[in-house]
Amino acid sequence: MFTSLDVLQTAMNMARHAGSRQAVTAANLANADTPGYRARSIAPFSEIYETSSAESLRRTRPGHLGVDTGAAKATAEFSDSEPAPNGNSVSIEQEMLNAVEIQREHNRALTIYKHSLEVLRLSLGRR
């Protein structure tokens, strides 16, 4: 009955999304001084979730027809900020801001996950 809870699935997708976004941010920061490097970014989870949940069909079993929920297949795209004279378009301030936002997103996802587990435990009578 509770083989795959939607809350847990979404929280896990959100945490995973935050992880891959953080990797892109790390790459941008590491290349903050590389000539010709263009900054990349992944869209926030809320945007991806909206587009994927609007189009995908709800499934009751994994074997049924439907579209995959798309948090994992987020692709990095070039963000269009004004490049420096050496062709580098990384802004350290923007990346720092992104990093903090991602960390908060990750924390939120983990808190939701933990809380849902707690609710399950409570309903099982173990505390």
Partner: protein, 130 residues
Amino acid sequence: MTDFSNAMSIAASGMKAQATRLRHVSENIANADTPGYRRKTVTFEEVVDAGRTSGLVETGRVRLDRTDLEQIHDPSHPLADANGNYHGSNVNMLIEIADAREAQRSYEANLKLFDQVRRMSSSLMEILRK
């Protein structure tokens, strides 16, 4: 999990590259008064692994700055030519200090991110503890 270790190794590569740059800056400053010394410049390149960009950064070949050496007039210097001039180094302290500051800033940014990723992954591990 691979994303986290990926992010950590990328941040570490950034720190390593900035540290190399800082080392070359300190070599330049140490040799600011060496006659005939040309300042070293270091280039940053993105690592391309099997045709795909990996996000890692590495330092490329060290190049020498080709601007003219400073002419110093000092007839008593052992290296002075017939006119009493000799070539100093082309190290400009202002550029070196600015470069060092920039390297430090970038290093700190990478370090911050490394720490943040580490905290994120340890909070993920926290779930398993209960």
